[in-house]
């Protein structure tokens, strides 16, 4: 897998929290329109890697690139503009907005980021002149709501949603920014088996319809192995395996990391 052609890549990323090494020289490449899985036990550094990829955390060493350009020092906003979006393990919904408003906020974010645009829209916002949706906004928002089955909930306040629906809203919000790479942090946690299966189908369809690359952090190993083209396994901040799903399933080190190291267990 070539990191040069990747829509998003991490190259030798190291993150330390005080004395703790959370990520130790981890690399990851996400080709366009691929699904990449990221698995590993609790504390392996998966969410930390997501924070580095999305710009919320700056690595001690290593780089992050998008389409070959170094974005290691770029803000989350700048990366969003380049087509990166994400969801969160602990939900970060906007409690006072409706489901639809989540998508509207995200959709419009892409239209006003240059200072010139911000200044141009400010009088519009304050004086209420011409404050109507831009062409294409309603259609785009409705389409995403439909794809994720959220149409009926469009006008419900996000504060009133259950966990499973909340995860879908986070995905819908991320999609409304029209990303090329979508980072999903444990999208199936809190979902039952049926919902997980539905989500899997939705994600596959998203990749095909939106021409989207997906990166999945998951606890549900079976889901990842069934969905991903390529899987990276982390343990204690290190990459212990990397390759196609079938190879990962058979990898002895992966099994050890998940099932516990028997030899250590015997000694204690």
């Amino acid at each position: 897998m070539s990191e040069a052609g990747a829509a998003l890549a991490a190259n030798g990323v190291t993150v330390r929290f005080g004395g703790l090494v959370a990520l130790d020289g981890v690399s990851l490449a996400v080709p366009p329109r691929s699904i990449v899985g990221l698995i590993g036990p609790n504390g392996a550094g998966k969410s930390t890697l997501f924070a580095v990829l999305s710009g919320l955390l700056r690595p001690a060493t290593g780089t992050v690139t998008m389409d070959g350009d170094d974005v290691t020092r770029a803000s989350p906003q700048a990366r969003a503009r380049r087509g990166l979006a994400r969801t969160f393990q602990r939900q970060e919904l906007f409690g006072e907005l409706t489901v639809r408003e989540h998508l509207v906020v995200a959709y419009r974010a892409g239209q006003r980021h240059r200072l010139r645009d911000l200044l141009r829209y400010l009088p519009v916002d304050l004086l209420g002149l011409g404050n109507r949706p831009t062409p294409g906004e309603e259609e785009a928002v409705d389409r995403i709501l439909g794809q994720l089955g959220l149409r009926d909930l469009a006008h419900v306040s996000a504060g009133a949603l259950g966990i499973g629906t909340g995860r879908l809203v986070e995905i819908a919000r991320a999609l409304a920014t029209r990303p090329r790479v979508l980072l999903l942090d444990e999208p199936s946690s809190g979902l039952d088996a049926r919902e997980t299966a539905e989500l899997t189908a939705v994600l596959r369809r998203l990749r095909d319809e939106h021409e989207l690359a997906l990166v999945l952090v998951e606890h549900d190993v079976d889901m990842v192995l069934g969905l991903a083209d390529d899987v990276t396994v982390l343990d204690f901040g290190e990459t212990i395996a990397r390759g196609p799903a079938a190879a990962i399933r058979a990898d002895a080190r992966v099994q050890a990391a998940y099932l516990g190291d028997k030899s250590v267990g015997d000694e204690t």
């Binding site: 710009g55 989350p76 970060e92 906007f94 409690g95 006072e96 519009v124 404050n131 006008h155 306040s157």
Partner: protein, 634 residues
């Protein structure tokens, strides 16, 4: 030099006693007690009354106040207020104690009128004994303060580090719920810590009164100085709170020394207001320096709060269900009432209501910065004051038409607002509130004191607009302007910028990853709020006839905040009612009451903010909710 050094230690000791109490109560309950100085004042006034009026023996009275009255006072406040705050958003926790700091001095003034500032009863000896230590004169009251500070530091450190109570406190801090499940009585722990905190405040109060007199001014500077020390301590370190207190006390007194004044003389004349304002400003300079130097003061916000800091005003679904004219009814009714009011009001009342309208415009700025922006600002009154001052300069000294001058003033306020917004990019709720408080004090101690602005306490005259000079014409202009500004605020709420602000209130992280600029959103919220506060301040000065900076005092700003939150910080109607009640209620009391009871309105405003502990969204939301509940039930 030694004299100033010793004076610095004495002042630092006062700060230390107060700041140790603040650290303890914040550590145990995550409530930052803005009312610490007011509690000290209340105990000190009670002590004064017991000695001077009731004729108690000062030694007995002092010990009683410190070791019996103060802890009980703390226990009562814990039971009625602090206990209820533990599960409220940080906004409510902060504003409730601001309300207490407004209410307690007013209550003291009602309970204990006619305090003679020349009488200074002391717990020790009156007049104080003099000692000469290492060639420096110290009296018994000063020695007592220094001794009390060191004693308090040692006792508290031992208590927290080496006793079961300390262990429970530290466990409660890390996770109240978890330690409750492991058998720790968290209520007991927080109650005791509030009793100790109150005892420390009372000690500082009783000792400070003897030294500096029993006036609220002294206790305000005590409170504000100790706030800076607590920032140095990052809210939790007793050692740093003590060291910071001493440092601030020393810096303050040394800045007054002849050597330093002589050194400053090289740069500016002795009457330069910036230099005159230096000494009272030192705590705030220290506070700002440390706020900006420390890293991670933003993260602490997320560690403490898991929910949006400003309460929401009804879920989105509730908004949709009713016809638009029903929803607009209260606003329309209020505006109609305001429009016909002049027909029924005599001269005095018309001007009272008009001033209230001008303030209501300024109060709309809270709806923008705190209600929509989710940021707690204690410097809105400074924006209004700066704009009023600039308006006066342009209108009177440069003969610019007054309405244009008000716009210029508001534009300058926007620039100042941008500066005030800078800390918000780094700081979470509580620290931002403290930074804005420091900012407002700095402006007040320096810029507002310049002769050109203060005009020897008279304020620079501001004319009324040509053709609108009568009370009635000006009144109608204010109504129109309120409606215009309210329209802008309403548009903001419904606009993309408003949606972005609502998103930011819930999760800055998620907002940033969507590509929305947090910096821009905060600048817009602060800048617009400064503009609106500036318009209100300029109009207020124009109506009053002068830009008198004493009406834009930082402490009045705290009362402004309590009135606005009492009605509802998210509501345009709330700002209107807040502005009107801020002028109408005091006038009503002036008409019907006299003497000590004139403090009653301030007490009410303070109590209103305290009541947020029960209904964080304010009176209007409370009424709406009851109405809705009744509708659903029927």
């Amino acid at each position: 030099m030694t004299t100033y050094f010793v004076a610095g230690i004495v002042v630092g000791s006062v700060y230390a006693i107060a700041s140790l109490g603040l650290v303890l109560t914040y550590t145990s309950s995550r409530i930052f007690n803005f009312a610490n100085g007011a509690m000290a004042f209340f105990v000190a006034e009670t002590f004064y009354r017991s000695v001077v009026t009731w004729g108690w023996n000062p030694h007995v009275a002092g010990l009683f106040m410190i070791f019996v009255f103060s802890p009980l006072f703390g226990l009562v406040l814990w039971a009625v207020l602090f206990r209820r705050l533990s599960d409220t958003p940080s906004f409510v926790r902060l504003v409730s104690t601001v309300g207490l700091s407004v209410a307690l001095p007013a209550l003291a003034a009602i309970l204990y009128p006619n305090i003679d500032a020349n009488l200074r009863p002391s717990i020790l000896w009156s007049p104080a004994h003099d000692y000469v230590i290492l060639g420096v004169h110290l009296d018994s009251d000063q020695l007592a303060i220094v001794a009390a500070a060191f004693l308090a530091a040692v006792v508290l450190t031992v208590l927290l580090r080496a006793t079961p109570f300390g262990l429970s406190t530290r466990a409660t801090v890390d996770s109240g719920r978890l330690s409750a499940t492991s058998g720790i009585n968290t209520s007991f722990v927080t109650a005791v810590s509030w009793m100790i905190g109150s005892t420390l405040a009372g000690t500082a109060g009783v000792l400070l009164g003897a030294l500096r007199g029993y006036t609220i001014i002294q206790f305000t500077s005590l409170l504000l100085g100790s706030l800076a020390a607590v920032v140095v301590a990052r809210m939790h370190s007793l050692v740093l709170a003590f060291a910071g207190s001493m440092m601030i006390g020393l810096l303050q007194e040394l800045s007054a020394s002849q050597q330093f004044q002589h050194f400053l003389g090289h740069f500016a004349s002795a009457t330069n207001p910036i230099l005159l304002g230096l000494r009272p400003s030192i705590p705030f300079i220290v506070m700002l320096v440390f706020l900006l130097a420390y890293n991670g003061l933003r993260e602490e916000r997320f560690a403490i709060d898991t929910r949006a800091s400003v309460p929401s005003f009804g879920a989105a679904a509730d908004r949709a269900g009713r016809p638009w004219w029903r929803r607009m009814l209260p606003v329309v009714a209020c505006i109609a009432g305001v429009l016909v009011a002049p027909a029924f009001l005599n001269g005095v009342w018309l001007s009272v209501v008009a001033s209230g309208l001008a303030l209501a415009i300024a109060f709309l700025s809270y709806v923008v910065v705190t209600g929509e922006g989710g940021m707690i600002s204690l410097c809105q009154i400074t924006f209004a004051g700066i704009a009023a001052a600039i308006t006066a300069q342009w209108a009177t000294n440069h003969n610019v038409p007054v309405l244009l001058a008000i716009l210029i003033g508001a534009a300058v306020a926007v620039l100042v607002g941008m500066v005030a917004a800078l800390p918000s990019l780094r700081l979470g709720d509580l620290y931002l509130a403290l930074a804005t408080l420091a900012f407002t004090q700095l402006v007040q101690n320096t810029y507002f004191q310049t002769p050109r602005i203060s005009n020897f306490g008279q304020g620079v005259p501001v004319p009324r607009p040509n053709g609108l000079a009568t009370d009635r014409a000006f009144y109608y202009m204010l109504v129109v302007l309120f409606v215009l500004v309210a329209g802008v605020v309403r548009n903001l709420k419904r606009s993309t910028t408003g949606l972005n602000l609502a998103a930011m209130r819930s999760s800055e992280t998620a907002t940033a990853t969507l590509g929305i600029s947090i910096v821009w959103s905060k600048f817009v919220a602060f800048g617009l709020s400064a503009f609106i506060a500036g318009i209100g301040g300029g109009l207020y000065a124009s109506y009053a006839g002068a830009a008198n900076m004493t009406q834009f005092d930082a402490l009045i700003g705290l009362v402004w905040l309590t009135v606005v939150v009492t009605w509802g910080i998210r509501s345009i109607l709330g700002a209107l009612l807040a502005g009107l009640s801020f002028t109408i209620i005091p006038q009503f009391f002036t008409d019907h009451l006299s003497g000590r009871w004139l403090n009653l309105p301030t007490l009410l405003f303070g109590l209103g903010a305290i009541a947020l502990a029960r209904e964080p969204r304010g009176i209007i939301a409370d009424v709406v909710n009851r109405h809705r509940a009744r509708r659903v039930a029927s």
